[in-house]
């Protein structure tokens, strides 16, 4: 990609499950070191977008570039090695393993495993809750603590880009603020965040950019304030859909 500000780009990507096509020629340009929130109605292909970028779903046609390299149809392991991590929707801990061992599994893809203990320690300093609960079974954590553990586990490889899908689901408002605060802190340290949020307004308020998906295609790509001010967004979320004439 010519633009050096772009860390991740999709060019006419088509993918889906079995005979179902979800991403229907999606194109997007994600800015380096910024928070971009992906919004769109249910079934627009937001989660599918993440799974396709991370190599969990095959790209049928089109091209994905990450960090200047063509990563189309790379495996999740290759994406990890390239500097991307993915925190999916819902509960993603290993319930019967301890908090420490959950964290340790974030380092599976580490090229040099000897650095793992130090990384685990520094992550525990960053999130003292993990240190307090290090030996507890992960299933005993609250929903918010589990989400923090997932984020910390994803950060263990020091990724350049984090895909995070609906982190606020099932969390208390206070916890949502904490998770969002962590994401902002990561952004300030140069990590690119690509976020999916059902609570679009709240997410856009803390984002730099927004990406509006509808029926597997990008409808709007703009700065977050512009999207928040866009009258078409309200219409989209009220279920009306974008009028074709307006999309340019």
């Amino acid at each position: 990609m010519a633009n050096p500000d772009t860390i991740l780009s999709l060019d006419n990507v088509v993918s889906g499950y079995g005979k179902m096509t979800i991403l229907n020629g999606t194109s997007a340009h994600i800015r380096r070191g910024k928070i971009t929130t992906v919004i769109g109605p249910n079934g627009a292909g937001k989660s599918t977008l993440f799974k396709t970028v991370f190599g969990l779903l095959a790209v049928r046609t089109g091209k994905i570039e990450f960090g200047g390299r063509d990563t189309t149809n790379w495996s999740p392991r290759q994406m990890l090695d390239a500097g991307m991590c993915y925190v999916p929707q819902g509960r993603n801990i290993f319930p019967e393993l301890s908090v420490r061992h959950n964290l340790e599994l974030g380092g599976v893809a580490l090229a040099d495993p000897s650095g793992l203990p130090a990384r685990i320690e520094s992550m525990m300093q960053r999130f003292p809750m993990l240190s307090e609960k290090a030996n507890a079974q992960a299933s005993t954590l609250s929903g918010g603590q589990q989400k923090l553990l997932e984020v910390a586990r994803g950060l263990l490889l020091e990724p350049r880009l984090m895909l995070i899908d609906e982190p606020s689901i099932g969390l208390s408002p206070l916890m949502v603020q904490e998770v969002f605060g962590i994401l902002k802190g990561l952004r300030d340290n140069g990590v690119t965040i690509l976020l999916i949020e059902q609570n679009a307004k709240m997410a856009l308020q803390m984002s730099d950019y927004g990406l509006v998906l509808e029926q597997g295609q990008t409808r709007i790509e703009d700065t977050a304030p512009n999207i928040l001010a866009d009258p078409r967004i309200a219409e989209l979320f009220l279920g009306g859909g974008l009028k074709p004439a307006i999309t340019a």
């Binding site: 999740p76 392991r77 990890l80 993915y86 999916p88 290993f94 319930p95 393993l97 599994l105």
Partner: protein, 298 residues
């Protein structure tokens, strides 16, 4: 009282063997959603590998036993996975279940056809001596054989070794991660396919251990897998289908119960014990003694 203690010790010995089979059964389910209804035949077959090695190749027993374990890992592990499980897995759980039932019949009839329909005596690793008090030896007093104690020790040590491997090594924890949430394991970079293969290898080895330990007690027979498979299945369910430690508890419980029932009620009812447990558990505690309820997304 001495009777009771003897029966419990005998029950622990058979229970430990059941636990080996049940743990393998549970591991396969956890990591690959394979419900292996041929598990009993997997425990029947390795004894015949060893017998064939001694009979046709003239191998000494310890060598034949080791060869049987390795051959089991290859056939019941690698071959089972690549030839049956992998191609059928895409078709869903039911076709795979039915295929394992078919495999059970094939193994049973194969052994009957190509080896023998007769029950075979099988050598034991342990000396045939009675560890009971001298005064009671041979009488109605305290009888515990070295065989029972040996079986109990070897089977328990195998289970402890496996538990240690799963919880205390990085590979073991990657296997647990694969069992608990394969998608997330893959997202973190765990080589899920390799972990599943390890599970199949371990199941082959556990089945072979169980086979070498149980055959000296109950003889090696082509049909012995029917009972063993049922026991492994029920032990896994009783303990909680998704828990290795549940399968261990279930195995011991059934081992002790069927020895006690055979002595105090009637040996005719011995085979009914696992089924009675199954009905009871499903009625009272469907997630099993140690299991957790599984949520299933639709």
């Amino acid at each position: 009282m001495t009777d009771f203690v003897q029966l419990v010790i005998a029950g622990l010995a058979t229970g430990a063997i059941y636990a080996l089979a049940a743990v393998g059964f549970t591991l396969l389910w956890q990591t690959s959603q394979t419900i292996n209804f041929a598990q009993g035949e997997f425990v029947m077959l390795p004894a015949f590998f060893a017998l064939a090695g001694m009979k046709f190749l003239g191998l000494p027993f310890p060598v034949a036993a080791l060869a049987a374990i390795l051959l089991s890992m290859l056939t019941l592990g690698v071959l089972f996975k690549t030839v049956i499980v992998d191609p059928l897995h895409k078709q869903g759980t039911l076709p795979l279940v039915i295929s394992t039932i078919g495999l059970a019949i094939l193994l049973r009839e194969g052994v009957k056809e190509f080896y023998s329909a007769e029950a075979q005596r099988f050598p034991s690793f342990f000396p045939d001596i009675n560890l009971g008090t001298a005064a009671n030896r041979g009488g109605s007093g305290f009888n515990v054989s070295a065989d029972q104690i040996g079986v109990l020790i070897v089977a328990t040590a195998t289970i402890l070794l496996l538990a240690w491997f799963l919880s205390s090594t990085k590979t073991g924890r990657q296997m647990q991660a694969t069992a608990q949430n394969p998608t997330v394991a893959r997202i973190l970079g765990v080589n899920v396919e390799r972990m599943v293969m390890y599970t199949f290898l371990i199941n082959g080895a556990l089945a072979a251990m169980a086979s070498l330990l149980i055959s000296p007690i109950y003889l090696a027979k082509f049909s012995s897998g029917e009972t063993l498979g049922l026991v492994a299945f029920v032990a896994a369910i009783v303990g909680g289908f998704n828990q290795v430690r549940g399968a261990i508890a279930g195995g011991f419980l059934i081992g002790i119960a069927d020895n006690l029932v055979a002595a105090y009620v009637s040996s005719t009812y011995r085979q009914a014990v696992p089924l009675a447990f199954l009905v009871l558990i499903i009625l009272v505690r469907p997630q099993g003694l140690l299991g957790r309820a599984e949520e299933r997304a639709v």
